[in-house]
């Protein structure tokens, strides 16, 4: 994490470390950052548009396909490794550039990342999600895209995933972290 330098960055850093709601929110979430700005709800339409583009990409890359996920876990095709690998490389370069040139948001807010510590959940939860990924052939994003492409029964899978998240929240204090 870069050391905040100017006043605006110091203020944003204080906001991130003193905001208690953000603390609850950041439980079991990786690299949370947050905006201090409050905008009308319709400002969120830009995320709807970004989501549409992402949804189209997920379908056209075929990463929402159960078949492609089976190929990946059986090492029968390079396709999925190519998609995820090249996405990570582009993401890494982007984050590096944002940090290096202190690129701000379109509203002029500094972008700062809060690092998270490793916990046992990353391992146990990771394995559990891996089992689910190979069964359903979908991670959470593709579930939404699959429903969109007309696989209506996946609504049930999505509701079950929401139930899984709820049960995790309920049992959270009893699970090793």
């Amino acid at each position: 994490m870069n050391k905040p330098e100017n006043i605006q960055e110091v203020k944003h850093h204080e906001f991130l470390v003193t905001n208690t709601d953000f603390e609850v929110r950041s439980l079991d979430t990786i690299c949370v950052n947050e905006s201090e700005l409050k905008h009308p709800v319709w400002y969120n339409l830009k995320y709807l548009v970004t989501g549409i583009l992402f949804g189209i990409l997920l379908v056209k890359a075929e990463v929402i396909s159960w078949f492609r996920i089976q190929e990946m876990f059986r090492f029968q095709s390079f396709h999925m490794y190519g998609v995820i690998g090249s996405a990570v490389v582009v993401g890494m370069i982007s984050v590096w550039l944002i940090k290096k040139f202190k690129i701000k948001t379109i509203y002029g807010e500094p972008i700062e990342f809060v690092s998270k510590k490793l916990n046992k959940g990353n391992i146990y939860g990771g394995l559990i999600f891996g089992f689910g990924w190979a069964l359903t052939g979908a991670c959470p994003g593709p579930l939404f895209a699959q429903i969109g492409t007309g696989a209506t029964v996946i609504v049930v899978t999505l509701l079950s995933a929401i139930a899984g998240t709820w049960v995790y929240g309920k049992w959270r204090s009893r699970l090793p972290h």
Binding site: I30, G55, E62, F73, H79, S94, T105, A134, P140
Partner: protein, 187 residues
């Protein structure tokens, strides 16, 4: 042009474009790319049930719900305008293997032989759709993220927990697909 777009997009086109979601969301408003949190926001909004894990201001995270609604709409856009008319072109080794279980319909990205309303309450369908979905929701939150939050956003930000989580996603998937799923598909 439309015919060209209707084909599946190769990994070296789609992968880098997916990676661009990371800076797009950061620059658009300081948002970390991640999908599985949306499931938590839905819980916090609809049935928090006094569970501390769901006591936060989910309205501040509503952007994430707009984002996943967009993903669903993106799926509809493809189904209406950009649908690939050909069956999914999967590796011959997988075709041979799946043949043993009576899976031969490659028309959709989601195999119609396995995922349909009629098979929801058969043992095989129940495990694939309902148990599988539960494990996805439980596991991603326990791990603190999914493929987007950990494997793309977290790795982009060089986070060690994300690397470990990603290795575990793969390990879990490899164990399930190769050792356990064949038994389930035989049901």
């Amino acid at each position: 042009m439309l015919e060209f777009l209707k084909q599946p997009w190769p990994w070296y086109v789609s992968g880098p474009l997916i990676g661009l979601m990371v800076p797009a969301l950061l620059i658009a408003g300081n948002k970390s790319f991640g999908i599985s949190s949306s499931l938590r926001h839905i819980c916090a909004a609809c049935m928090p049930a006094k569970i501390p894990f769901f006591q936060y201001d989910w309205k501040k995270e509503v952007w994430n719900l707009f984002f996943v609604a967009g993903i669903l709409l993106g799926g509809i856009v493809v189904a209406m305008f950009l649908q690939n008319p050909d069956p999914v072109n999967v590796s011959p080794a997988l075709v041979t293997e799946l043949n043993q279980y009576g899976i031969s319909d490659y028309k959709g990205l989601v195999p119609a032989d396995l995922f349909n309303w009629d098979s929801l309450f058969t043992a095989r369908g129940f495990i694939l759709m309902i148990v599988g979905g539960f494990l996805v929701g439980f596991g991603t939150r326990y791990a603190g993220g999914c493929t987007s939050g950990h494997s793309i956003m977290g790795l982009s930000n060089l986070q060690l927990p994300s690397l470990i989580a990603t290795i575990c996603f793969m390990a879990g998937g490899i164990i399930m697909a190769n050792l356990i799923l064949p038994l389930i598909l035989n049901l």
